[in-house]
Symmetry: C2
Subunit: 193 residues, 2 copies
DNA sequence: GTCTATACAAAGATAGAC
DNA sequence: GTCTATCTTTGTATAGAC
């Protein structure tokens, strides 16, 4: 899945950066080309149209997380709280940029104006993360490391939605430490009583 | 603040509906004009440009909530849990449309691509709701109706971000009852132990 | 207050030279 | 693989008639 030319990779890099900042509909081939340092038609040589490029960005983003989630989950030396701390890290990294949010959070904000092939990828990203969180939470509850109330599924939704919403609200309000406050509060609510 | 002509009001109605579905950058005067049943240049007669129209939509949205929040908070017959239940109602209503999210949630997703005057209004909306929630939560904790852990400010952020994120994730995944599950989980975590 | 007509820029996309 | 040139559509905005 990594059979991408160096230029194609840089196009995806720039496109992802711009989408995380401004969304999909606000950006154009020209903006991306300028960031890469090439001209508009050169992009079409690597990706046939804007929707295909947009989809490729999400596919790569999703795969990066898939690998990371799997490897973290498979580590037997880490308990559920350790695993969750690792999961939160990319979110705080994004929040620290002050200009970006989650790629899929940005796209989901303009969901009804996305090409069909992008909608599917964004939805898959969300479902994948929700399922992964549910699995981690359930395991943590089973062995007593976690002690939240209610089913793991509901807490997974609360955590994931709070992270996505947290990034969006934090960027707009530009309040220092907003997301960290949310994460701390989440951790307080999943610890055993 | 309600000195708007009937046509101007309908323009705001249609524009708000479209933004909640598709965002600000995905829509145009043509889309709005079509929804209202007038021609493109007629919109400019009511709002000088797109940014002014966008700002007017957010200002009106914000004012509607301001009135509602104040009246709910001022009702002495309702305790903090009742007040929060009323606060959640508009969110579940939006989720039930299956196509919309919070107006300001949609705009915040493309925040860096918004005109400056819209950024300010969106930020104010978020800060206003966060402050209101903090106030309600603190009052509920003080008189024992609520029993969450940590400061009211952190729980206010968690609740608000989860609602905003919940709308976004619910629409993209199209899962029935997603937001209700999040709200139930929130309520479980703010009740006294 | 709404319209037709138009100006002007930017968008996505294609053709073909190098 | 990248470019210039071009096509077509759509976007915001303006001018001026009704």
């Amino acid at each position: 899945m990594n059979d991408l030319s160096p230029t194609a990779t840089r196009i995806l890099d720039v496109a992802q950066d711009l989408i995380q900042k401004s969304g999909y509909n606000a950006i154009s081939f020209n903006h991306i080309a300028e960031g890469v340092g090439i001209k508009k038609p050169s992009i079409v040589h690597h990706f046939p149209n804007k929707a295909a490029l947009g989809r490729a960005v999400v596919v790569r983003y999703r795969e990066t997380f898939t690998v990371a989630l799997d490897s973290v989950q498979a580590d037997p030396t880490k308990n559920a709280l350790d695993v969750l701390a690792l999961y939160f890290k990319p979110y705080t990294d994004i929040a620290n940029t002050r200009e970006k949010i989650c790629l899929c959070g940005a796209l989901a904000g303009e969901f009804m104006a996305l090409p069909e092939e992008m909608k599917e990828e964004v939805a898959s990203f969300f479902k994948q993360h929700l399922q992964w969180l549910r699995s981690i939470l359930q395991a943590g509850k089973d062995d007593g490391v976690l002690g939240f109330c209610g089913p793991a599924d509901a807490m997974a939704k609360l955590i994931f939605d709070a992270l996505q919403g947290g990034l969006i609200v934090a960027r707009a309000t530009d309040e220092d430490g907003h997301l960290n406050g949310v994460i701390d509060e989440l951790i307080k609510n999943i610890r055993p009583a």
